[in-house]
């Protein structure tokens, strides 16, 4: 029996909240299938399984905060005898063999450990108690043999006035329309009124129904529009989770501080004449409908990806005191979010994509990044990151490397400047390109070779 655990969706993630299961016990899953939605500081992320098999049991309920590495479900690998399917919503008593204790969360997030005396059979109940700040030694169990049940914990939580910062578990959100947490979040992001989708029989509204109710193309949602849990039924629940923006700020702070602490950065900069590239682009776009047009960023990304295949020393990870080159270029793209913060999802295997495919992927990625619906792989597999879309007007951007990556490419604004060509002064579209390199992995000589390669590709746009 294999465990499906809370994945690490980036070096800055300690824990995640399970938002929604997309599979049920008994479902057959294959490597790469999306099985759950997990909420992190940065976004709601669709999480894939890396196993082939049959879902045996779901160990945690939506709304549960689980540390990275903590078990979420068990999967019977292909070829093994399938276990009897458990009920889709595991009750505390149904939790079978005690699941291994999840990796300890950061000390600050954990209330003092309870004594071993009380009978608690279910890890779910323990976790619930942690979340709600309930000391299990003070709870009297109402279950068999005095076992503490979830209801006992909830009852105790109702009487404990505690300034707790975890989100209120979804099970208690009874005031509003019934909906799955992911559906609720989607509805907020897409500006859909859940009331309009309410089922008369009390069935929860699902994410699919919300999507169906969304008008054709979604507007890029305001990332600040995250709904907090509906009105809390008891005073003890009045404390909501910190807003996403604060959590994202904290996540960025952690990761960037780690980068500056651990990575000896070196910086290079070069100026690239984009006259040929922009002329070529303009000519190509002239005959295309608006939806098919390319933006200059697509050329910059493709040129970067191709150069990374030629100078593989900048494409990969620094782990265990050594450099591991990546076999493909998964190009991370820094996407700034309205309302603050940024995410850096990756365009997978960017070097092998045709320009129009890369453009479509980039559009899709930016839309989903801002709508909070990225896939796990997109956040974990970036091998080299580009920050550009420095279209915010700055002339150049010198970035901070995303550990464990070893380089970061920055493009400033494309602007017309006086430029000498063949002894004559002309006005050309110019961009400043920078490289932040990890000096442990490469020297400036290698970094320089890489920038030269990007420049070379941008001078031959027809080959991109």
């Amino acid at each position: 029996m294999a465990s499906f655990t809370m994945p690490s969706l980036g070096a800055d993630m300690d824990e995640g909240t399970l938002l929604e299961w997309l599979v049920h016990p008994g479902d057959t899953v294959h490597k790469g299938d999306i099985v759950a939605v997990v909420d992190t500081a940065k976004a709601a992320i669709e999480v894939e399984t890396f196993l082939d098999g049959v879902v045996a049991e779901l160990l945690v309920e939506p709304g549960t905060v689980v540390p990275v590495g903590g078990p979420l479900a068990t999967i019977e690998p292909d070829g093994a005898t399938p276990a009897p399917a458990a009920a889709p919503e595991p009750t505390p008593e149904a939790a079978p063999e005690p699941a291994p204790e999840p990796a300890p969360a950061p000390a600050a997030a954990e209330p003092p450990r309870e004594g071993q005396a009380p009978h608690v059979h279910s890890p779910l109940v323990r976790r619930l108690a942690h979340e709600r700040g309930v000391d299990l030694t003070t709870v009297r169990g109402s279950g068999r043999d005095g076992t503490i049940t979830r209801e006992d914990v909830l009852r105790a939580a109702g009487t404990v006035e505690t300034a707790h910062e975890e989100p209120a578990p979804t099970v208690l959100r009874t005031a509003a329309v019934r909906a799955t947490p992911y559906a609720r979040k989607l509805a907020a992001d897409l500006g859909i009124d859940l009331e309009a989708l309410r089922h008369s029989n009390g069935e929860p509204v699902t994410a699919a129904e919300v999507r169906a109710a969304s008008p054709g193309e979604q507007p890029a949602p305001a990332t600040t529009a995250r709904t907090e849990p509906a009105a809390a039924p008891t005073p003890s629940e009045a404390v909501a989770a910190p807003p996403r923006q604060d959590r994202m700020r904290a996540a960025i702070a952690t990761l960037m501080a780690r980068s500056k602490r651990e990575i000896p950065h070196y910086y290079l900069s070069t100026t690239v004449d984009l006259a040929r590239a922009t002329e070529w682009l303009h000519e190509r776009n002239r005959t295309l409908s608006i939806t098919e047009r390319l933006v200059p960023a697509a050329l910059l990304l493709k040129a970067t990806a191709l150069a990374a295949t030629e100078v593989p020393e900048v494409n990969g990870y620094w782990v265990d005191d050594g450099f591991q080159a990546a076999s493909q270029v998964h190009l991370g793209v820094a996407v700034s979010l309205r309302g603050g913060g940024l995410v850096t999802p990756a365009i997978l295997d960017a070097a092998s994509l045709e320009l129009d495919e890369l453009m479509a992927t980039m559009k899709d990625l930016v839309t989903r990044a801002r709508g909070g619906r990225l896939r796990g792989r997109e956040l974990t597999e970036g091998t080299l990151t580009v920050t550009n879309l420095g279209e915010q007007g700055v002339e150049s951007v010198v970035g901070v490397i995303y550990p464990p990556q070893v380089a970061l490419v920055g493009f400033g604004r494309i602007a017309e400047r006086p430029w000498a060509v063949d002894g004559l002064l002309g006005v050309r579209p110019i961009v400043t390109m920078t490289l932040s390199g990890d000096h442990r992995a490469t020297d400036a000589m290698t970094g320089g070779r890489f920038l030269t390669a990007v420049d070379h590709h941008l001078q031959h746009p027809e080959e991109l």
Binding site: P219, R293, V295, A297, L389
Partner: protein, 84 residues
């Protein structure tokens, strides 16, 4: 260059709606007619492309890359869309 039949008021509404598809809480009334929209609402090139797409689709006016220079402020956008 255009044969649109939009009135000034219709064009103004369309521009506001096209911006609000990207920045839902954008308050166009609070922004002067001569303020550059891309900078004001921090539209990146993908945002701008989708802005252009919405304008073109809803107005029926074809918009080439050469026309982008007319799509800077509310005033220039309305002027372009109404053929003025």
């Amino acid at each position: 260059m255009t044969n649109s039949t939009l009135t000034d008021a219709e064009a103004r509404t369309l521009v506001a709606e096209a911006i609000q598809r990207i920045v839902p809480d954008a308050d166009l009334d609070a922004v002067g007619d001569d303020v550059p929209l891309r900078a004001e609402f921090e539209l990146d090139s993908l945002d701008f492309l989708s802005f252009v797409e919405t304008l073109s689709q809803r107005s029926g006016v074809g918009i080439t890359e050469n026309d982008y220079e007319h799509l800077v402020t509310m005033r220039t956008c309305v002027g372009f869309l109404t053929g003025g």
